[in-house]
Amino acid sequence: MENVNERILGMLESFLFIAGDDGLTLGQLSVLLSLDAEMTAVTVERLRLNYEERLDSGITLRLYGGSYRLVTKAEYADDILRMLENPSKSSITQASLEVLAIIAYKQPVTRVEIDDLRGVKSDGPIQTLVAKGLIMEKGRLESSGRPILYGTTDLFLDRFGLESIEMLPPLIEVDDEPFGDADLFMTKFQEAFELMDEGGNND
């Protein structure tokens, strides 16, 4: 690992700098650096370690959805937010999150399966998630009506900071723990009451 050429590291950094938000895949980097995939991966990892080890570095390297990209270190987030005028976080509703979770873990999955699992219609959230570029059609089921099969997109992996869909944390089996999360329940309860107090439309 230690004998990664310095010039190659510099070249890699300059490529990633140029690519910015678009990032570069291992395949693209391998071609650009004229290295085989394995050596490319080693070089990328060396660069990442350099960033992590250097305390005077404000940036580091992340793999999101198959693309390597340079990002600022988490510790500077507050300072950067201060610099950005309107850092509106893209909000996502609880309903959309539930639908997204089901699609992420069960993909490819049809709308009917999602509806059944949630006990409510999920047309709205599905449409929103498609429009936000987080889910996409992954073909059709070969049965009557040929329903659409949904799956997640690379943008989903990016927005949720996942290297690949395999990196999703395993689903928690409820059997293992005592049922009933008192805290969660209290939160929900309080939310509901607060909403009532405001007396308005919760949308």
């Binding site: 873990y105 006990g119 219609k121 570029g133 949720f160 689903l171 999360d181 329940f185 509901a192």
Partner: protein, 249 residues
């Protein structure tokens, strides 16, 4: 205890049911059906703001609950009962399906929460715009003749919206923190002194962005209030002149 809870606080009938199970501290593997059913229905009554469409989904589950409850009241045939202590522990407990659904739903509900955390972890890492090297070329994102799909278009569009945020607002906030009305007031007075005590109103607004213009305007108002300057307009629609000090009108 009666209370009204807005429907939107729940993501659907299963969510409401989970909520009740939690509140009543019920063992999910041994649900007291009559208690849960009555609580559920009481809740439905309390929820005033129901849209018809959603109401039907809640009612479907209510029907299911009542059905399970009634099944459990039916006498059990001798032959169906296995040698167990609990009367309800039959081959098919009428509650099994409901319990399985609840557990499955809860699993994804928790996954949704963990996704939310992932998104928050991700959101503290900022990235930069790709360098604009369009004069030289661009990096290809697809290999050769790959079939594209419309979802790539949506992704590209959303990414662009995200970038727009990164692109524009930067300068505005920094400028704002650099400007203040009191500083601008000094600037204006210095400028007036330098150019002989008067200048056209417009000339004070020649450069700067929205922030500058607002601050300049407010500074002028404040200076007028303090009688440090006088603004005179020569007739309707005439040029407005800013004078240092008090000027006879």
């Amino acid at each position: 205890m009666t209370y009204k809870v807005k429907l939107e606080a729940f993501e659907g009938p299963l969510d409401l049911l989970l909520h009740l199970i939690n509140r009543l501290e019920i063992d999910i593997y041994d649900i007291p059906m009559s208690e849960l059913t009555s609580q559920y229905i009481e809740h439905l009554h309390a929820m005033r703001v129901l849209e018809l469409d959603e109401l039907s989904e809640y009612l479907v589950l209510a029907a299911t609950l009542i059905e399970i409850k009634s099944k459990m009241l039916l006498p059990v045939h001798e032959g169906d009962v296995l040698d167990h202590h609990n009367d309800y522990e039959m081959e098919d407990d009428p509650r099994d399906e409901l319990v399985a659904r609840l557990i499955e739903y809860k699993k994804y509900k928790e996954a949704a929460n963990s996704l939310k955390e992932s998104a928050e972890d991700r959101s503290v890492h900022f990235t930069k715009l790709p360098e604009d090297l369009s004069d030289y070329g661009e990096i290809a994102v697809t290999e050769s003749d790959e079939k594209m799909n419309v979802f790539d278009l949506i992704g590209a569009f959303q990414k662009m919206l995200e970038r727009k945020k990164l692109r524009s607002p930067l300068s505005a906030s920094i400028l704002r923190s650099e400007l203040s009305v009191s500083e601008k007031m000094d600037d204006i007075m210095t400028k007036l002194e330098k150019i002989g005590g008067k200048c056209p109103f417009e000339s004070l607004f020649e450069d700067g962005d929205v922030n500058d213009l607002v601050v300049t305007f407010l500074s002028l108002l404040e200076l007028m209030k303090r009688l440090d300057i006088t603004v005179i307009q020569e007739g309707n629609f005439g040029q407005m002149i800013v004078f240092a000090g008090q000027e006879d009108i």
